[in-house]
């Protein structure tokens, strides 16, 4: 329901000012010097002003949020608030708080603006002082409404937690007719009962359980019979409860007249507030029967009481109950009847409103009754298993439990668990063999390999196969071959080592120019190769033939172009044609390969040309957006000068 208890305390206006100012002092920086940059000084003081404003704002916003808005809460509470605190006064107080909040905001806004133009620390400081002073003055003007709101808060927190929607019984009647004693009997509530009128000055709530649900009983202050305008606050609380809560009403009549009000007056009250009982279950409790019975009444009074029954009351008949709070006679009967009537009414209303239908659609109530004899259900497979082996002696003698074994062998503390008993090994006799943990200074477990047998088997098989293959024959021949190869390799390695040393030596001359390697002549290469026992002429071949031909032509002089009939010249022409084709292939084996290379080259060229590069080595990165052409403002017609 509503959380009236959780509204925070409202300090008096003066205290609020102190709180906010000290908070500002605590939570904002405190050190500033005139030597600081002016922007820093300004920011320092602006922060103070803004902080003060936000703190005030937070406090006020919280206040406005927490207090219930009279238009939004349940009409019962709204009316109660109106009766107890005066709706206009309440709204005015909250309105003032809201107005002050806005004023504080505006002050802060103005002064922050002004501070932007302050040019010295002193000026900033004075402006800050003025701003805070004005804020505090406007808050101090709230003194009245703040103290009023604090009172309201305290009272609201102490209001009984009445839930206007639940099942409720309301007790009403003249003062001192026994409403509170009835309440004390029926519920756990401990309401003050005194032998004078207006003992109960406000609403009280008690709770009781009936029919497995919780019921709310509201004890109201007594009502006197006079017009609504003349009623005081205490009576009005009772009236609001009667007017707004959809509850069963228990109207109390003191037939002994011990309360000081004769029966005619009490009946007159009933008739005057009758409109409030409309559409509500009504019970008339004739109380204090231990002092005077109904039958002992004079006929006039009897007639008056009977007149209450004739009251036009929404069709339902008015119920009468004779009770006595002293002897507790008839109290339960009245209570039960009241509860029943109200429950019926509520159910009826729910059915009418269609709420029940939506619920009923989702429900299904079965009519099945449980069979009397319900044997345990055992699945057939289980039954079979049991039937097959169940009879044998083995099954019946179940295996000994570890606990039983323990009991047999000396009980707890003496018996030690046999961990190897269930070990699954190839040979059961191995079970209790002692396994050393350390052997020859090694941890045995480090060398345990579960697949060792398999690996060993594999190895053995491989060895056998190799042995079978060793039909290599003579060992001597093999050895010879090996030696020959070894000698060859040794020679090669020594040469490599030598070269490495030579190179190292050459390198060690730091920074000296390295002479260019002389190209070897073809003849030298041939000679070297021949020395190594390879065919040098094969490498030299073409150059030899060419050289020879050149030598031949030199004899003929420069006449080779025109000399067409010359057989030798013809041969030269043939060879030239061949040479040209070779150059087109660029020293590549096939024409296709040459074409591919050419294609790649052209592609590369194309890219380079597109970028406008000079060559492969041209890595220049252009500045596409030079800063000097793109920076600066471009206002009205100033394209040329930036």
């Amino acid at each position: 329901m509503y959380k009236f208890k959780e509204i925070q305390t409202i300090p008096p206006a003066k205290q609020l000012v102190d709180i906010v100012l000290s908070k500002t002092q605590r939570k904002t920086p405190t050190v500033v010097h005139p030597g600081f940059k002016i922007t820093r000084i300004r920011a320092f003081y602006m922060r103070k002003v803004k902080f003060c404003q936000t703190t005030f704002n937070e406090k006020f916003t919280k206040m406005l949020e927490e207090f219930p808005k009279i238009d939004d809460i349940h009409p019962f509470y709204a009316d109660l608030c109106n009766v107890l605190y005066d709706r206009d006064h309440y709204k005015l107080a909250l309105g003032q708080v809201n107005a002050t909040k806005k004023i504080v905001d505006n002050i802060a806004k103005d002064y922050v603006k002004m501070m932007k133009f302050a040019d010295s620390l002193y000026k900033c400081k004075m402006l800050k002082r003025a701003a805070m002073g004005r804020m505090c003055t406007s808050v101090k003007k709230l003194t009245g409404s703040m103290s009023y709101l604090e009172e309201v808060r305290q009272h609201l927190g102490r209001l009984p937690a009445i839930n206007p929607a639940t099942r409720t019984l309301i007790l009403t009647g003249y003062p001192n007719v026994g409403k509170s004693s009835f309440m004390n009997i029926v519920t756990q509530a401990n309401v003050d009962v005194q032998p004078y009128a207006f003992t109960t000055k406000s609403l009280f709530v008690g709770h009781l359980d009936h029919n497995y649900v919780k019921w709310q009983v509201i004890d109201t202050p007594g009502i006197l019979d006079h017009p609504l305008e003349d009623r005081n606050t205490i009576e009005m609380t009772a009236i609001t409860a009667l007017a707004h809560l959809p509850a069963a009403v228990l109207f109390f009549v003191d037939i002994s007249e011990m309360c000081g009000y004769p029966i005619p007056i009490q009946v007159a009250l009933f008739h005057s507030i009758k409109p409030l009982f409309r559409n509500r279950p009504l019970l008339i409790i004739l109380n204090k029967t231990d002092l005077r019975k109904l039958s002992e009444l004079s006929p006039e009074d009897r007639a008056l009481i009977d007149s209450m029954a004739d009251a036009d009351h929404g069709g339902a008949a008015v119920q009468f109950f004779e009770t006595s709070c002293a002897s507790k006679d008839g109290v339960d009967a009245a209570l039960t009847k009241g509860c029943e009537l109200l429950l019926d009414r509520r159910v009826e209303q729910k059915v009418k409103s269609g709420k029940a239908d939506s619920l009923r659609n989702r429900l299904h109530v079965t009519n099945m009754t449980a069979p009397v004899n319900r044997p345990p259900c055992i699945p057939s497979s289980v039954a079979q298993q049991k039937g097959g082996d169940g009879n044998t002696a083995e099954q019946e003698q179940h295996e000994k439990l570890e606990r039983e074994r323990m009991e047999e062998l000396g009980g707890a503390g003496v018996y030690s668990v046999d961990l190897w008993r269930r070990a699954l090994l190839e040979d059961t006799s191995w079970k209790y063999d002692v396994v050393p943990e350390i052997m020859d200074g090694h941890n045995v477990i480090d060398f345990v390999d579960p697949d060792i047998d398999k690996k060993l088997e594999m190895l053995e098989r491989e060895e056998a196969m190799l042995m079978a293959e060793t039909s290599l024959g003579d060992d001597e021949e093999v050895l010879k071959k090996w030696k020959h190869t070894q000698g060859f390799l040794d020679e090669l390695h020594s040469k490599m080592r030598q070269r490495r040393i030579e190179r190292k030596l050459a390198k060690s001359r730091n920074g000296n120019p390295v002479t260019r390697k002389k190209m070897k002549k073809g003849s030298e290469v041939e000679k070297e190769l021949n020395e190594k026992g390879l065919d040098g002429a094969k490498v030299r071949g073409r150059s030899v033939s060419k050289g020879r031909k050149d030598r031949d032509s030199s004899i003929l002089g420069k006449r080779k172009r025109d000399a067409t009939e010359n057989g030798e010249d013809q041969g030269r022409a043939e060879s030239a044609a061949r040479m040209r084709s070779v150059s087109r292939m660029k020293g590549l084996p096939t024409e296709k390969a040459a074409n591919d290379v050419e294609k790649v080259r052209r592609k590369r060229m194309k890219l380079r040309e597109k970028d406008g590069r000079k060559g492969e080595g041209d890595k220049w990165v252009p500045d596409w957006k030079p800063k000097h052409l793109y920076s600066g403002k471009r206002g009205i017609g100033k394209t040329d000068r930036r």
Partner: protein
Amino acid sequence: MRKKKAREPKKIAKTARKLRGIKAKLFTKKRYAEKATMKKTIKAHQEKDAKTKDGDEVKPGAVPAYLLDREQTRRTKVLSNMIKQKRKEKAGKWQVPIPKVKAMTEDEMFKILRSGKRKKKAWKRVVNKISFVGDNFTRKPPKYERYIRPAALRMKKAHVTHPELKMTFCLDIVSVKKNPQSALYTTLGVMTKGTIIEVNVSELGLVTQTGKVIWAKYAQVTNNPDMDGCVNAILLV
């Protein structure tokens, strides 16, 4: 309740001992004020009971018994009411509550606003003080705008105190009549301490001797508006 009241002084003493810093200052100030009022009331109560002597002192310039009832008049000093009034008016015409003001330098008054591409030009000025700007004022184009009055420093209302009624009203400013610093400030509408402003007093319902309603009256600014963020003035009557 009775016990609570009895314990109160001990509680107060305890807090007084505990508090430090600003809180202690505030507390002692409050306590001092409370004690002062308490003492005063006690004294008032005591005086009420005590019998005081009647003033039996002999007044200076004793007179014989037969002259006691006569009122003395000093003719030389008596002036006719008319002359008195006139003199007062004449003197009062140019008399203002704040006759002298501190002179202000130009750089206190204005801030130089540099302009131009390289911020080389320095002919613009920003008015650093609170100023009054009329409703129908429009700013000149930036090229011709020498003096800038920032919107944040413009004021339309003044808190004007009526010296005889001893009441303060928040009134509209109509114009700035005279700034004692210089004529330029008067034209700019700058309000500093001692400036004479014209305020709209139609709300006060003042009437002239002939029965006409007074719309506007002069008032003198009594505070530094740029320090306080508001204009306080005293009505010149």
